[in-house]
């Protein structure tokens, strides 16, 4: 395994990403060739990167310094370090990038000639590279640089289709939030530096409790913004859908995980054993995030926004898992922490796979029908069978259905919660009960959300001509989605393999190997890690999969055998005077989740509008019914804030800067007087 010792693979991978960007720009005269060449290079980089990280995780030297250049500019140091944690995130990045780049080859082709496609490809490749550097930065300032570049590049990718006003708006919200997030990261990093005197990433000992709190809170807000933790999530449902589908897949699939990585790297590794309340805060934030995200996802009819909200839900699950791990560590239960962290890291990987597949599939639907609105779709399962199958698979994983990977990792999160509950003697136990209940609710709503996505979008009849004339996605798009769904299935069937990969990162973080959880490759049994007296549950995916398959087969056979006789039935009795079934008789996307919206009125605050056209009240020519709901965070937190800042700016302009020269002279005089008073006092 000499190769793993040198880190050559990471070098090759990064240089291939860079060359993808350069290739795209070099071939800019010929956009189609540039597109293919650039994404081919990215794919090659991803393959090498995946192999290198896998090798590193299984047989690598642990910590590997790839580069360390001390510049002449103060505080600037180019330091690239790969350790087990980095390698794990690089693995997720590489796998996703491979599929997304393959997808991009055909997905972006229609843009050729219309937009500056080579520039887009170059930005895309650099974006991938910047994420790779975020995961491997060994120096806090270099991390910040990679982070900033990643943010700015993703901004440009979000506003790529800038002719749409809402994309520009989404980009602006994103950029503002990102800038604020960076300010918090900067505060955290510099506070660390002021207390330790080094920018090197690693354990920072000897911080006062106050400094620890400042650092934790700064990183919580800074990374929380990027991850979309409620209430810092407002930008995410705008920005993720605004980008082209391949970028959405990367942003939702892996960019939000940079925040998880940051929390692990800076807080868990950096600050050591967490303070007790940190975990509690994370747990509560995570649950609020999961519930808020999923309930908004459920009522959303824009497919990509629905997926973006679902990303927020999954971030909530990740943060919850992180919170459980923090609590376990601060209570001195590293074994439990290792279970929770393994669940979290596993779920991060799984989410990258299924959310990537979902965004890619929805992107294909979007290109085929030119709409993202579920109300305009329907019946796609006939027109786009392959894409539909992929979406079903990915949606099953996202709704945490066994035997897919989403279930395996959520199950582990639940086990960690249950174990914490059993071990906890204090009032904190109630928190775990609530957490488990909230996660269960989130899971149920997620299932309903994806049922809605699939049921309204794929089944039934086309609601518009565009949906009726949809065409199947090109081959590369189907292959890339298929690969991701295959990953979801395989990881779900053999979670032991995932735990094997996870072993070293988690071991490094908690000192306990999570591999004891897996019984062989095929099952999960967390009792090995538990110190509680009560035996925990076990999960055997193959058994469950077999059961599900057997049940499905039996049901199918039953339908064939029993129902076959009644297949042809023509009745006119119960059709209420309508002769044929048409698209308008189907459940609409809004109708699907309407009751939920009404129950949780206080959250969504829907405003409805019913407009009838025609002379007769009871027989109008047409009725239009629309419901709008605004997120309470936007309505009560952000909009007032933005309005206040703008008003302040306007007010300042009209009262401070009146254009009156006398007033300006007075300011100078006041400044002078202030100075003289200071002179007397000082």
């Amino acid at each position: 395994m000499a190769l793993a010792q040198t880190g050559l693979g990471f070098w090759i991978s990064f240089s291939l990403y860079l060359s993808a960007a350069v290739l795209a720009l070099l071939l800019s005269r010929c956009p189609r060739a540039a597109n293919v060449a650039s994404h081919a290079a990215s794919m090659a980089g991803a393959v090498v990167g995946a192999a290198a990280s896998l090798l590193h995780l299984l047989a690598g030297p642990g910590r590997l310094v790839l580069a360390d250049l001390v510049g002449t500019v103060p505080q600037l140091e180019l330091k690239v370090v790969v350790d087990d944690l980095s390698a794990y995130f690089l693995l997720a990045l590489s796998v996703l990038v491979f599929c997304v780049s393959l997808y991009s080859v055909s997905y972006l082709a229609p843009y050729a000639g219309k937009r500056n496609l080579p520039l887009f490809d170059a930005l895309y490749a650099l974006f991938v590279l910047s994420m790779g550097l975020v995961f491997t930065a060994g120096h806090a300032v270099f991390f910040l640089i990679a982070w900033e570049i990643m943010s700015v590049l993703s901004y440009f990718l979000v506003v790529f289709e800038s002719e749409r006003e809402e994309n520009v708006r989404a980009g602006t919200i994103y950029l503002v939030m990102t800038a604020v997030g960076t300010a918090f990261l900067l505060t955290g990093i510099l506070t660390l530096y002021a207390n330790t005197g080094t920018f090197d990433l690693g354990a920072a000992a000897g911080l006062s409790p106050g400094a620890r709190t400042v650092v934790f809170l700064s990183f919580l807000v800074g990374f929380g913004i990027k991850a979309g933790v409620v209430p810092l999530h407002v930008w995410l449902p705008y920005a993720h859908p605004a980008a082209p589908a391949n970028v959405s897949a990367l942003m939702s699939g892996i960019m939000v995980k940079t925040a998880l990585y940051g929390m692990l790297r800076f807080v868990l590794v950096g600050l050591g054993v967490p303070d007790g309340w940190w975990g509690g805060a994370l747990l509560i934030l995570g649950l609020v995030t999961a519930l808020t995200g999923v309930s908004h996802a459920y009522v959303e009819s824009d497919m990509k926004r629905l997926l973006a909200y679902s990303t927020i839900e999954n971030v909530g699950i990740l943060v919850t898992g992180l919170g459980v791990a923090f609590l376990a560590l601060s209570a001195g239960r590293p074994a439990l922490a290792s279970l929770a962290l393994a669940a979290t890291l596993f779920h991060a990987f799984n989410h990258a796979m299924f959310k990537g597949a979902l965004f890619l599939g929805v992107g294909s639907v979007h290109h085929a029908t030119h709409t993202r609105n579920l109300e305009d779709l329907g019946g796609l399962v006939r027109r786009m069978p392959a894409t539909a199958v992929l979406l079903v698979g990915a949606a099953l994983a996202a709704s945490a259905m066994p035997p897919f990977n989403g279930f395996a990792s959520e199950w582990m999160t639940f086990q960690a919660l249950f174990q914490s509950l059993l071990l906890e003697k204090s009032g904190l136990g109630l928190l775990y009960v609530l957490a488990a209940a909230a996660l269960a609710l989130a899971g149920a709503l997620a299932a309903a959300t994806f049922l809605k996505l699939l049921g309204v979008g794929l089944l039934g009849r086309p609601r518009t001509p565009a949906a009726a004339e949809a065409h199947e996605a090109p081959l590369p798009e189907r292959i890339s989605g298929g690969l991701l769904v295959a990953f979801c299935l395989v990881l779900g069937l053999v979670p032991g393999a995932a735990l094997r990969v996870l072993e070293r990162p988690v071991l490094g973080l908690t000192g306990f190997s999570p591999s004891a959880v897996s019984t062989g490759w095929l099952g999960l049994d967390p009792s090995a890690l538990s110190t509680s007296p009560v035996a925990s549950g076990t999960y055997s995916p193959l058994l469950v999969a077999g059961g599900v398959a057997a049940f499905l087969l039996a049901a199918l056979a039953a339908v064939r055998l029993i129902g076959g006789r009644f297949l042809v039935r023509r009745y006119g009795t119960w059709d209420c005077g309508f002769e044929t079934i048409d698209a308008r008789m189907q459940y609409s996307a809004m109708g699907f989740s309407k009751s939920f919206q009404i129950i949780f009125r206080f959250l969504f605050r829907p405003t409805r509008e019913r407009r009838a056209e025609g002379e007769h009240l009871y027989h109008p020519d047409s009725i239009a019914y629309t419901v709008k709901s605004v997120s309470p965070f936007e309505k009560f937190l952000y909009e007032p804030l933005v309005a206040f800042v703008n008003a302040l700016s306007q007010k300042a302009k009209s009262t401070i800067q009146t254009g009156s020269l006398r007033r300006y002279l007075a300011y100078i005089l006041f400044a002078l007087l202030g100075g003289l008073v200071y002179f007397l006092v000082a």
Binding site: V168, T187, Y678
Partner: protein, 506 residues
């Protein structure tokens, strides 16, 4: 040899005063700035090897050390690139009919006179002389601000001269008290020489000094654009012809900051601590950054927006000078260098944008990336850079500055500045990125389904090829200095920092 810094502009001014064809004027202008740059390079070398450059002359007026030579190099560099830009700018203005060819002589005379006064500010030993030179910069540049003779331009010039004259008067009171502080300590003729003042700072009268510093700070601070004395700046910088805006924002503000720097060093040395000056400077600095952050948000004029950003960056430099630690001074110098280059890049590019589109209103400009194939992308990257985004140089200096704040355990101040910087960045980007999206008229027309407005469609292309070269050079410079500081520059900045803190013998 260094005296050529004075001689070259004087000769050039004399030549430019002659009736000459326009081409020759362009050539003389370029030659003057080239020669200045060459002499400045030589002077830099002298300072690097000998510590100071003070050629013998009657009165010993000339004095250069690391502090001033850094800023002098900026004047020379930005002056050179600006004069290159001006060639194309003038031709295009004449082509568009917005500049009377007869006024070219006046324009060049004023620009070079203005450059000369800045060189003087930075090369005089006597603080009284510095004061006179700064007043002269106002006089030379006020006609440049009002050069276009429009109502807005004249109003801007009017505000500029009134406010800056008041400021300079206050500064004069400060100079007088500075002189009093030196009474009985220094000989009659040298009582305002910086070298003498600084060398004997310990024995100067402290309360006079403290009193003088208030006046000097408010007075020169007016000229440096620190809030709340900044109100002339947005008008003046936005109304001036674009090459002049670049000089005003890029180098003139530094020259005013230079005077503050020198006096603060004397006071700090006398008091043995930087607390007295530091509180004032940091206070004004934070106020400037905050003011800029608030006013940036609702700007509709892109040149004004850039002007507000200058206030912000001067505020940051003031904070660095206020803290007066080795790292903070390093950061302040580094920041002034980076701001000079980045802001002149932006003002020069914005001048080309203005010539191309004919409007200063952000909402009426669009599609710049296509419209200006070189300047457009450079402008975009310049905006990203001015927001303090890596790998551009302002990121590195802002980081160094914030690090120095945190090093002093001023967490709240540091976090506050970081947040304000984020606000400023967001303000600039959200206001200005609109100019790169498709033209609003085209979008509106596409939405309404009608043909584009009948106004003549703009043809993509660079109106000012010289200018395009200048801004590309600047972009390369801010990219390089963001990741790599040549050792001579690090050495210079370190030397400047050592001179000011008086460590290492001063």
């Amino acid at each position: 040899m260094e005296l050529l810094l004075w001689l070259v502009p004087i000769v050039a001014l004399a030549v430019l005063a002659l009736p000459l064809p326009r081409r020759v004027r362009h050539a003389v202008s370029l030659a003057e700035t080239l020669a200045t740059a060459a002499v400045a390079t030589f002077a830099t070398w002298t300072v690097l090897t000998q510590g100071t450059a003070a050629p013998a002359m009657p009165g010993n007026l000339f004095y250069l050390d690391a502090v001033s030579v850094i800023l002098l190099d900026l004047v020379a560099l930005v002056g050179l690139l600006t004069s290159l830009y001006t060639i194309g700018y003038v031709e295009e203005e004449i082509r568009r009919g917005s500049l009377d060819p007869k006024k070219v002589r006046a324009l060049y005379l004023l620009i070079h006179g203005f450059l000369f006064t800045m060189v003087l500010t930075l090369t005089l030993r006597n603080l009284g002389g510095v004061w006179i030179a700064i007043e002269a910069t106002t006089l030379a540049s006020v006609f440049l601000v009002g050069f276009h003779n429009g109502k807005a331009a004249l109003e801007a010039a009017w505000k500029y001269i009134i406010l800056c004259s008041v400021g300079i008067t206050l500064a004069m009171i400060g100079i007088v008290f500075l002189n009093s502080a030196a009474q009985g300590v220094l000989a009659e003729g040298t009582s305002l020489d910086w070298t003498a003042l600084f060398a004997r700072a310990d024995s100067l009268d402290g309360s006079y000094l403290k009193f003088a510093f208030i006046f000097l700070l408010i007075g020169f601070g007016t000229k440096a654009g620190l809030a709340p004395m900044h109100n002339w700046l947005p008008d003046a910088h936005s109304q001036a012809p674009s090459p002049v805006s670049a000089l005003l924002s890029g180098v003139l503000l530094n020259a005013a900051m230079y005077a503050i720097l020198r006096t603060a060093a004397i006071v700090n040395r006398n008091l043995g601590s930087s607390l007295y000056t530091g509180r004032l400077l940091v206070g004004l600095g934070v106020l400037s950054v905050a003011t800029a952050a608030v006013f940036l948000l609702t700007q509709k004029d892109y040149k004004r927006l850039l002007a507000y950003s200058s206030i912000e960056h001067m505020g940051l430099a003031a904070i660095g000078i206020g803290l007066f630690t080795p790292l903070s001074l390093f950061a302040a110098f580094y920041h002034m260098i980076n701001h000079s280059l980045t802001k002149s890049l932006l003002f020069l590019s914005s001048g080309t944008v203005l010539q191309k589109t004919g409007t200063r209103e952000i909402g009426r400009v669009g599609g710049l990336l296509k419209l200006l194939p070189v300047t457009g992308p450079v402008f975009l990257l310049g905006l990203v850079a001015i927001g303090g985004t890596p790998p551009f140089s302002l990121f590195a200096s802002e980081l160094a500055l914030l690090t120095s704040v945190f090093q002093q355990k001023l967490y709240v101040l540091g976090a506050g500045i970081a947040l304000l910087l984020a606000l400023v960045f967001a303000g600039i980007i959200q206001a200005l990125f609109r100019v790169f999206y498709p033209r609003p008229a085209a979008v509106a027309a596409a939405r309404a389904g009608t043909a584009p407005a009948p106004a003549a469609p703009l043809v993509p292309g660079e109106p000012n090829r010289f200018g395009a070269v200048a801004v590309v050079v600047l972009l390369a410079l801010i990219l390089v200095t963001g990741v790599f500081l040549p050792s001579w520059l690090t050495k210079l900045i370190d030397a400047a920092q050592t001179i000011l803190t008086g460590q290492g013998g001063g």
